[in-house]
């Protein structure tokens, strides 16, 4: 009898704990009138997500009536799964992952395509002479896989290799640090302009005692090869958007986030400080480089930040369909622009295009300090 009571009490406590930990809801809290929402980032805290951190720090979310919790990502955290599972209302990930999840029946939709250019590159050492994708035949090419490989696979296939079956080229899954590339354990490494490239440049060349420079590397941009795809976008579940209240929340969220990105365009250093205040893994110098490179992926935004470019979308859809082995090419249903356009309308009077933005010259610091 006593044991049964103990079990019941334990269960009640467990249920209580679980329900309070059940995550954000969209009900407005009576006293605060702020709608709680959660954003799941694609990766760890870094300047790649500066716009969202800035929107929170500068009070843009609060002004829009939102109480936003930002959840950093990491290895083995798939934003689509977090959002589809209800632990976050909004997520940041690449368009390719979104299309793959939709093809498997997960009802997600992209509501704002923040980055309009791809930051993915293939890095090789200049002294290997591999300065084009064509020269990567029969070489070892590294990528993180898990949905990040399509641009690289398409580039390799463009020059006659079959990366999906390891024919004509050897594909390896790269770890999250660039040590393997510094040790020349692969011939070509996938690298984002804003992250891994900087990690290489922040490392010391043992032969010279000085940092590696761009002249030591070939940086082959997927944007230049022509197989680039759209990357970071804000997405949510179609179910979430069924209610008008949620649609309004989503629009406000987009508007405040874009305002944060616009702030980071015009006040890059301030945004770096904001990111640093949130405890990123990599230090100031690295975040400064990253902020600059991320801005380069957003600005200029001729149509206005966040608006989907149909041509880029079509190219991305085709590449995902081929290498993600989808039965059909994803159509217009994978994204919607109505909320985005409403958000841009809320930002009238603000420069949402950044046509005059110029990329800064950032000095690389050892170890990214």
């Amino acid at each position: 009898m006593r044991r049964n009571v103990a079990v019941v009490v334990l269960l009640a406590v467990a249920v209580g704990v679980l329900s309070t930990a059940a995550g954000a809801t969209t009900r407005s809290s009576g006293t605060q009138k702020l709608t709680k929402v959660t954003l799941q980032l694609k990766w760890v805290t870094q300047a790649q997500f500066a716009g969202y951190y800035a929107a929170k720090a500068k009070g843009y979310y609060k002004a829009a009536g939102l109480d936003v919790t930002i959840k950093p990502g990491g290895p083995n955290i798939i934003p689509e799964q977090v959002v589809a599972g209800g632990q976050a209302q909004f997520g940041i990930d690449w368009l390719s992952s979104l299309m793959l999840s939709r093809a498997k029946g997960v009802g997600l939709v992209s509501i704002s395509q923040v980055f309009n250019k791809s930051g993915l590159t293939l890095l090789t050492w200049k002294d290997t002479g591999i300065n084009t994708v064509a020269k990567m035949k029969n070489k070892k090419v590294a990528n993180w896989l898990g949905g990040n490989e399509f641009e690289v696979f398409a580039a390799l296939a463009k020059y006659g290799m079959d990366p999906a079956h390891n024919k004509g080229v050897t594909i390896v899954q790269e770890p999250f640090t660039m040590d393997f590339f510094l040790k020349r354990q692969a011939d070509a490494a996938s690298a984002m302009t804003y992250n891994e490239l900087a990690q290489v440049l922040e490392a010391k060349n043992p032969k010279t005692g000085k940092l590696y420079t761009m002249s030591d590397l070939n940086v082959i941009k997927m944007q230049a090869v022509g197989t680039s795809m759209l990357e970071d976008n804000i997405f949510t579940t179609s179910n979430y958007l069924k209610s008008a209240a949620n649609r309004a929340t989503a629009t406000k969220f987009i508007a405040a986030s874009l305002k944060g990105w616009i702030y980071c365009r015009d006040h890059a250093k301030d945004c770096v400080n904001t990111v640093l205040a949130n405890g990123p893994a990599l230090p100031r110098g690295h975040q400064t480089w990253q902020m600059n490179e991320i801005n380069a992926l957003i600005w200029p935004s001729p149509k206005g930040i966040g608006l989907m470019d149909p041509a880029s979308y079509a190219r991305s859809a085709k590449i995902v369909a081929t290498y993600g082995k989808l039965k059909k090419v994803p159509g217009h249903e994978a994204y919607r622009t109505d909320l985005e356009q409403a958000a841009l309308a809320q930002l009238s009077g603000v420069d949402t295009k950044g046509l005059n933005w110029k990329k800064a010259v950032v000095h690389v610091t050892p170890g990214g300090n």
Binding site: P75, S97, L100, K104, G105, L145, Q173, P175
Partner: protein, 274 residues
């Protein structure tokens, strides 16, 4: 007509057919549970409308396995080689260390704390380090992880086996003026064999785990761990589960192989069968 109960003639122990018959019946309850579990899994997905990306139906997993069987089996074999290599290295080092410890007790006192420390190393933390020491794309980094995982159970059990000899046996050997090597060969090692094999069976499973977990942190495209991780990231959960099934199959086959070896090695020993 005799109505007296007739005692059943004892079955000769070596009769193969009877052995198989008895074995098959032993497996029947487990087989029934397996079938029931699979049926329950299959039906509850449909009945409760569980989303595909949370748990696919066994039938979907089976068809995904069939569609990609060559890729999955090739990846399984690749990873198994890493597990096997690590198993051989880890167990050999462990057995040699245990032999040294049993022979020279001072060495044992020196080594034991480090063996315990080796066991306490969280393997997930160790994997990126071996990737840095060895190339993340070679098999050696994963073999290292598997070897570290296999070391402790085999070491501890072998030591236990070698030192849990009855004092009377040692005294008897000494009375025959047997040297240390003879004592080892005739008394300690045979006593230790059941312990060693128990540990080896544990190590087979651990080595497979070590190889796959290591591959989560970087590896060849041909590796099973990379495949499982990659497929689950791209929402191909049927394939990911099929990959997990292949990993289990290889682990079980490895375990059974060592168990079979145990049977052979311990044939002369007093029966320890359940």
């Amino acid at each position: 007509m005799s109505t007296q109960p007739v005692a059943v003639a004892p079955v000769p122990r070596g009769a193969l057919s009877n052995r198989v018959g008895r074995r098959a019946l032993d497996w029947a309850p487990a087989a029934v549970v397996l079938v029931l579990a699979l049926v329950f899994w299959q039906e509850s997905i449909a009945v409760f409308n569980i989303k595909r990306f949370l748990a696919p139906q066994p039938s979907a997993i089976a068809s995904a396995f069939w569609d990609h069987r060559s890729e999955l089996l090739r990846a399984g074999w690749f990873t198994f080689q890493e597990a096997l290599g690590g198993f051989v290295i880890g167990c050999s080092v462990a057995i040699v260390a245990a032999l040294a410890l049993a022979r020279w007790r001072g060495v044992g006192r020196a080594l034991m704390p480090y063996a315990i420390a080796a066991n306490a190393v969280p393997i997930i933390a160790f994997a990126p380090i071996t990737n840095a020491w060895f190339s993340p794309f070679d098999k050696t980094s994963k073999m290292a992880i598997a070897a570290v995982l296999c070391f402790f159970p085999v070491f501890v059990n072998t030591v236990r086996g070698l030192t849990s000899v009855r004092p009377a046996s040692i005294e008897l050997m000494r009375s025959y003026a047997a040297g240390e090597i003879d004592i080892f060969r005739r008394v300690r090692v045979p006593t230790a064999l059941p312990f060693v094999f128990t540990a080896l069976k544990i190590a087979t499973v651990l080595s497979m785990i070590g190889a796959i977990v290591g591959e989560y942190f970087g590896g060849s495209f041909n590796a099973l761990g990379v495949l499982i991780f990659s497929k689950s990231s791209t929402f191909d959960f049927e394939e990911a589960w099929a990959g997990i099934g292949v990993a289990c199959a290889f682990g079980i086959a490895f375990y059974l192989a060592v168990a079979g070896l145990e049977r052979l090695a311990l044939r002369g020993a007093p029966s320890t069968e359940e």
